[in-house]
């Protein structure tokens, strides 16, 4: 993915080129949608959340000071949206009614060669998702950013506004917590 094009697209969008906005959305939609899915675990809700995030990008692009920092700015904005939506949905009991067995709730393991293998992998993916979902919000956040979004420590440090050492130690704690939740499966 040509993420290095983002600053140029932001510049063009600010100058009134709305196709540039569309291209920015196309560039980041997979990551933002999956980040949203990691929080709300339901496809329609994740789509709505991702759309709200990009609507905010459209309306607040002038608040971005440095175009080269678009990625970090987008993730900060996205995380704020995700945290708020997560809290709101949790208060409404959204997650208590949600079954993690639901096959549409997000990430899948890479496809296997046979239906049996596929089933086994899907089952494993479900368990891993369930374990990630059971982490505290702070633990889940750092796992999503590093292990699923594959961001660098430097990027995560920018997004969370934390020193890199703190990011690493938070990540280590989150991974240990995840390991403990998966212990019976390993």
């Amino acid at each position: 993915m040509p993420y290095h094009e983002a600053p140029e697209l932001v510049r063009a969008f600010r100058q009134g080129d709305h196709q540039a906005f569309n291209r920015l959305v196309t560039l980041y939609q997979r990551k933002i949608y999956n980040l949203a899915l990691g929080y709300v675990k339901q496809e329609d809700e994740a789509k709505d959340l991702a759309q709200d995030i990009f609507v905010t990008v459209y309306r607040q692009i002038d608040k971005l000071k440095d175009e080269s920092k678009f990625g970090a700015w987008l993730y900060q904005l996205a995380l704020n949206h995700c945290r708020n939506r997560y809290q709101r949905l949790r208060r409404r009991g959204f997650f208590s009614n949600q079954s993690l067995d639901d096959p549409e709730t997000g990430l899948n393991l890479s496809s296997g060669a046979t239906p049996e293998k596929d089933y086994e992998r899907q089952n494993t993916a479900r368990l891993v998702r369930e374990a990630i979902a059971s982490l505290t919000p702070a633990e889940k956040e750092v796992i999503l950013l590093r292990d699923l979004q594959e961001l660098s420590y430097e990027e995560i440090s920018d997004i969370l506004d934390l020193p890199m050492g703190t990011v690493k130690s938070k990540l280590n704690r989150a991974r240990l917590a995840l390991k403990n939740r998966l212990k019976h499966f390993l």
Binding site: D17, Q19, V25, Y33, K47, D52, Y58, L107
Partner: protein, 271 residues
Amino acid sequence: MQCTESQTLFTDFADNTLGREELHALTDHLLGCPACALEWREFQQTLSLVHSLESQPPPADLLPGIHLKLAQRGMFDRVWALVEALNFSLSIPAAAAIFTIAMLAGFLLKTAPQEPPGVLPSAPPPSQISALRLGEVPTPKRQPIAPSAMFAVSHNGGRQNENLEPLAQTVLATHPTMDNEAHRLLSPDMHVLIADTDHDSQIALFQEMLHRNWQIHRMTSNLYLVHLPQTGLEDFHELIGQHHFALMPAAAAQARFGSSKKVLTAAIYFQ
């Protein structure tokens, strides 16, 4: 090295970013401590499982949905700007009423059923055609336009519709965006309801518009958005004047309507 300390180094160990001394201390500890060695193996297995998860592709209608939301919020902003422009202070109940109406409108727009894609609008009933042929004079009159017709605006949503009619596909492929003013995304400047027309007349109308290099977006089977330069307004009136139509707002019939805008957007709705 203590067992608890060893586990704090697992992420650095996995990333291969430990210093030489720490690396030696940790590996020595893992060799001599089966419990920590097991913890490390499980840590690696956990990472392997998480990294093997694949992300899901985003839904195809994510981008059109963004434009729809932008259009809806643009409408809300306009209502609010209008209230402010009226320059009188609202009582709290009045403000609450306006807010409720705007929210209700937004909800209705969101839940309005989409019409299935078709080719071009179907021909009107013979009785309407005969009425026109008998010399009925088309009288501009205000008629309500369905909410979905007023705000179903997507800047490039049509590009993702594989069922686009060939005419609109040609438009999208050959005519680049004329300008990029933000207000064009928010809502149409004019709403044109063409009541009585036949298939051939519609094609002829669009061909005339294409001939003038105006941009046409097909939104549903009977709703089209047309972007035209402000200087083409008279020409536009002349073209639609050949049909039985209603135009909103009435001011759009004036030659200088929207003169501060370079490009006007007309929503053409075929009844």
